[in-house]
């Protein structure tokens, strides 16, 4: 069992480093075990050094940078084991246009092995999806869901919606 954990950990750490390079166009990252001898109790430390910057505490990173680091870890975990289903609720909320493009490209790539359901307010993400569901409240306090096409959605968004 410990072999499994350590082997998985090494793979995820390697994928995490690679994923940070992809999402930030460079830079470096590490996952390390706080207690390698005790896989049942160990914690996992995350350190990141972004291009052109010194290695710094995660706290000093920007809102969008932290979101990208979190996504890098998620995609690294998916590289180790492609879970069939993944829900992402506004994971792109903090990202600028360029980073949303990177996020969408990764979803298409990992989407071959994992079914993604993404909640979003971003049009780039909507355009990337295969199917679109619009949730609305025609009656106060009561949700309804419609299967939408992108052209319908643009009208919906432009209309004075609730």
């Amino acid at each position: 069992i410990r072999q499994d954990f350590n082997a998985t950990f090494q793979q995820v750490a390697a994928d995490f480093r690679a994923m940070v390079k992809v999402l930030f166009d460079g830079g470096d990252a590490d996952l390390s075990l706080t207690d390698p001898e005790n896989p049942d109790q160990t914690g996992i430390e995350i350190t990141v050094r972004l291009p052109g910057k010194r290695r710094q505490a995660l706290s000093l990173l920007s809102g969008g940078e932290k979101a990208l680091v979190a996504l890098a870890l998620l995609f690294a975990l998916l590289s180790a084991r492609a879970t069939p289903l993944c829900l992402l609720d506004e994971a792109d909320a903090m990202l600028d246009e360029t980073n949303i493009g990177r996020f969408c490209k990764l979803l298409r790539e990992y989407g071959r092995d994992t079914q993604f359901l993404v909640i979003t307010h971003n049009r780039g993400t909507m355009e990337m999806a295969d199917a679109l569901f619009g949730v609305s409240m025609a009656e106060e306090g009561v949700s309804q869901v419609l299967s939408l096409h992108l052209e319908e959605l643009r009208e919906e968004l432009l209309a004075p919606a609730g």
């Binding site: 809102g63 492609a82 069939p84 994971a91 990337m128 679109l132 619009g134 106060e140 306090g141």
Partner: protein, 163 residues
């Protein structure tokens, strides 16, 4: 293996029976603030056995039952059903289609169903673990806090699910 259908009834802002049919690809859920998008995600996580009411933004079990509006009485129970295509045998069951459902009553009881039969929560949990589906990949509306800001010990759980 993929989720083909979600059926929600009486869950949060879905008092009436609502069905969504999912493609094999990527689905995006959109709509105004407060319309029910995260509630939809909560329904999926709840049907997959989520036990933490905090993770579903509530405090007690009945918080997921439709609370009523001036025009509609509150609900007395809720049911959410997930249907999966299992052609590739990811679920270790000899069935091409698998359905997992959960019911809760305002009194607090929870029931779990597999293909229409009452089972225990741990049966659902075992089945999902075998299929590689875990709550670790259900990311709520606070990505960074959920994935990064955890204590180092909690991060290990994410990794164990990937092992």
């Amino acid at each position: 293996m993929y989720l083909t259908q979600l059926e929600i009834h009486g869950f949060k802002t879905f008092p009436t029976r609502t069905k969504l049919a999912f493609p094999q690809g990527i689905a995006a859920i959109v709509g105004p603030n407060g319309s029910g998008k995260s509630n939809l995600a909560d329904a999926i996580r709840w049907a997959l056995g989520e036990q933490s009411m905090l993770a579903l933004r509530g405090r007690k079990s009945e918080d997921v039952v439709f609370a009523g509006t001036p025009r509609r009485a509150r609900g007395s129970m809720t049911e959410v059903a997930l249907t999966f295509d299992n052609e590739d045998g990811t679920f270790p069951l000899e069935l091409a289609e698998i359905s997992i459902a959960r019911r809760a009553y305002r009194s607090g009881e929870n029931e779990y169903l597999l293909n229409g039969n009452r089972v225990r929560l741990r049966d659902i949990q075992q089945l999902l673990a075998d299929a590689g589906i875990g709550q670790g990949m259900m990311i709520g509306q606070g990505l960074v806090d959920q994935v990064l800001a955890q204590r180092p010990e909690d991060r290990r759980i994410l990794l164990e699910e990937a092992a």
